[in-house]
Amino acid sequence: MQASTAITKDLVAQHNLTDDEYKKILDILGREPNLTELGMFSVMWSEHCSYKSSRVHLRKLPTTGPRVVQGPGENAGAVDIGDGLCVVFKMESHNHPSFIEPYQGAATGVGGILRDVFTMGARPIALLNSLRFGGLDTAKNRHLMKGVVAGIAGYGNCMGVPTIGGEVRFDDIYALNPLVNAFCVGLARKDKIFLGTAAGVGNPVIYFGSKTGRDGIHGATMASDSFDDASEQKRPTVQVGDPFQEKLLLEACLELMAGDLLVGIQDMGAAGLTSSSCEMASRAGNGIELDLTHVPRREPGMTPYELMLSESQERMLMVAKAGNEDECIRICRKWDLDVAVVGTVTGDGILRVKDQGKVVAEIPAKALADEGPRYERPYAPPGYQDMLTNLNYDAIPDVKDAQAALLALLESPTIASKRWVYEQYDHMVRTNTMVRPGSDAAVIRIKGTNKAVAITVDCNGRYCLLHPYEGARLAVAEAARNLVCSGAEPIGLTDCLNFGNPERPDIMWQFVLSIEGMKDACEHFKIPIVSGNVSFYNETNGLSIYPTPMLGMVGLIEQADTAMTQWFKQEGDDVILLGATREDLGGSEYLKVVHAREQGSPPFLSLEAEQAVQTCVLGLIREGVVQSAHDCSDGGLAVALAECCMSGPDRALGAVVRLSPGRLRTDAVLFGESQSRVVLSAKPAHRQAILDRAKRLGVPAVVIGAVGGVSLVVYLGDERATTKTLDVPVATLFDRWAFSIERTLNHESLS
């Protein structure tokens, strides 16, 4: 064993291990760990790697279904799309590093999720991302947003994987804890899925990719801790990405996988060499013996501790079938990668690490990978919950100037066009992008088939704050609705659960309720959750983010040419509203932007009504009777209509619409965020077919107007009403909406 550093109480605490966790380590080893072993335990048992606070709850989520090829537990999930193909996908957070160093933090987040997907044998075909920042009125937040977007662009563009969509929302609660969640979808042959397993005693363990350096040591531990004012000093724990190296790694991996050379493969993400080796060994019930002497290094003098904990990027570990070492090495060298046989699969279940002939660590692989602590942390609603939910609407005056309110909403960065963002991402490379960013979901075709897949990312953190259970159900419903409006049937889900400190009962309460909400909605819609990631400790100086269970959902379009977009297509088309409008002002963007309130109960959701609307819309799209379909979400019906008018790529079209408010407030009719509503446009010849189908399914459906003119005009009331509540030229709407973010970011005089 290596010359011992005394393992003191302080040292254990510095490694973020509790007294009980340390006792457990002593029990497992039957002795004191040395420093290297302590480091290995600390990263593998960190919240980030071990899911110790979340695992007991994650188990409740539905993960199976007829299409599921690979559920949670591997590098990514996989779902069957027919034709012998499957989509492989996962979403992951890189929140903490992105706050400390936005460009590299975001870039390596993209790099990590790409590796998770191509490790499975899939060629990445699409990237998406979901971002949260504080308001753009501070220089710091603008700096974070610019850096994160540039980092995502820098990595994804170089890799040649299109970034086809995502969402960006703004709220000051994220100012000190921005969220950067990256989502990757790959395509693989169903019979050529690769897993992270170290099967076959005696098989060689081969390292390839970049050299190992001293960067990112304890990245996983950092990601498992809250921030304080000194957090910026953690910059050295952020890794630096090299997308060119990753592109070579991708091509080398796919070439290695094309032959019959490999048993298993895993990328070195968080906790680097430690996690990849112990997880692969543990999955196969085997051990691995590593010899660090052969590990390619960036600099001399690195200790076993540093080598085992480094999170240098663009590295992989593969277990080859014995005898294929030379062919594996040849392929890696062709792609100018470092490569070395660094170990062997053993039958004793031990992860044994040697350096210069000496054993420097010896730990049961299963204990490291799977037998970490599990916590059933206490949970309880926070005392302020009722204050958030109870809102006296009588105290809030109804809207007087609807036009000003609409323009303010369109200009608010959460609703405004994300053109400034997605034009920095190559969203067309690979020539599959049928529906580009800026519609309800992005759509990419699958070459060699008639199919396409639609992909979306969704979560409204404010709804989740106001009611975590409802918020999570609403997120599932909205994601599914976005896919359906694009003509796709939802087939699978990945989640990225961003929360505060789980050691606080109120945060744990948010987490547990969110899981329950996701579970109920996914079970109802029969959408399996096949992969995911949990990011806790999104908290700075005791202030937590809103609970933000981000959902990435994938849908299948059997006939690619039926893919649908959200914008109006033709003058004279009917505008039809499906679904019922209620007084759902609680948690709305309108209340926040116009009345500066983030309060109330989130919108009502009936899963049955939602299902009926979705069935109706999907049937109509497949029948070919609608010209456009757009879901009503942030900003309600008025914003949805404005988006239908102005978001098309080639030309804007106006519309004249008449809404009967009944007993509802005007602001609730225009800007309330009632769920399960979809705005369709269709040729008048198809009107009856649409109304009939809606009636059959019990979906409220009303022809509310017609496409045409150069303005969006809205009358409230019956046919006799002659006062226009809204009458805005589409050009004005467009100008406010399309350039808002750009204008804000370029406004250097803001402090």
Binding site: A150, A153, G154, N157, C158, M159, G160, D242, P243, F244, Q245, K247, L248, W335, D336, Y422, E423, Q424, Y425, D426, H427, M428, V429, R430, T431, N432, T433, M434, R445, K447, A560, D561, P649
Partner: protein
């Protein structure tokens, strides 16, 4: 026709070019690894887009030292058709096969969006199916497309009708407002004096299928196929 698509480490539009020339235009395509030293048997060579060598140092600056580039120079000097798209254009500039250089986009951002191109010269084997002055909608996706050269070279390019595509508006007006990257004289694509080497920043291979909503790029790529066929039948006539 037999097209070669060169694959540098970091090329990422190589598969897109292969797809268009084979699946859409029905030609045969050979992928050419950058360490190859011969281009024998090819009728035309495509240098695809991407980030060759990560675009480290300067776009195209390292790729020009790849062994295949000597073969490309040889191929071009013998009159072979060479087309560089985006990063391929940047490599052609660095290799001296086309005059000028690329600067960072004026905005300093990567830009991916549709732009309009005016076909300034339709009497080339790369644009034979276009009309002179025709406006095409083609996407760009680059961070370094701000074309620059000295005034004498620019005057020469203009005088010899070597400027093939310029950025314009929907109606074909060439104005500074529609210049997406700051490039000199709104230049989007140029050819060499001999006329057999073309470089362009926009991606015609990304808009050559109705399924993707735009087929304008197909005119350029199909022109190339036609141009080659014409050249070949001429050569056959001479031989006969």
């Amino acid at each position: 026709m037999n097209f070669g698509v060169v694959v540098f480490p970091g090329s990422n539009c190589d598969h897109d070019c292969e797809h268009i020339f084979t699946d859409v235009l029905g030609q045969s395509v050979q992928m050419v690894w950058h360490k190859e030293t011969s281009l024998k048997g090819l009728d035309a060579v495509i240098l695809p887009g991407g980030f060759s060598y990560g675009d480290y140092l300067r776009t195209g600056a390292i790729a020009r030292f790849s062994p295949v580039m000597n073969a490309v120079k040889q191929f071009a000097s013998e009159g072979g058709m060479v087309m560089g798209i985006c990063n391929g254009f940047q490599i052609l500039l660095e290799a001296g096969l086309l005059p000028g250089a690329m600067l960072r986009n004026k905005s300093l951002h990567f830009i991916c969006k549709d732009v309009y191109l005016k076909v300034e010269n339709a009497a080339t084997p790369f644009t034979g199916l276009c009309k002179s002055g025709q406006v095409l909608k083609v996407p760009i996706a680059h961070a370094d497309g701000n074309y620059y050269t000295d005034p004498v070279t620019l005057a020469g390019l203009q005088a010899n009708a070597q400027v093939i595509f310029r950025y314009c508006d929907r109606d074909g007006k060439v104005t500074p407002e529609v210049n997406p990257n700051g490039s000199l004289d709104n230049i989007a694509g140029i050819r060499n004096a001999e006329g057999n080497v073309l470089g362009m920043m926009p991606h015609p291979e990304r808009c050559a299928e109705s399924m993707l909503g735009n087929e304008d790029g197909r005119l350029i790529l199909a022109s190339m196929v036609e141009g080659l066929k014409k050249a070949q039948s001429k050569a056959d006539l001479v031989k006969a």
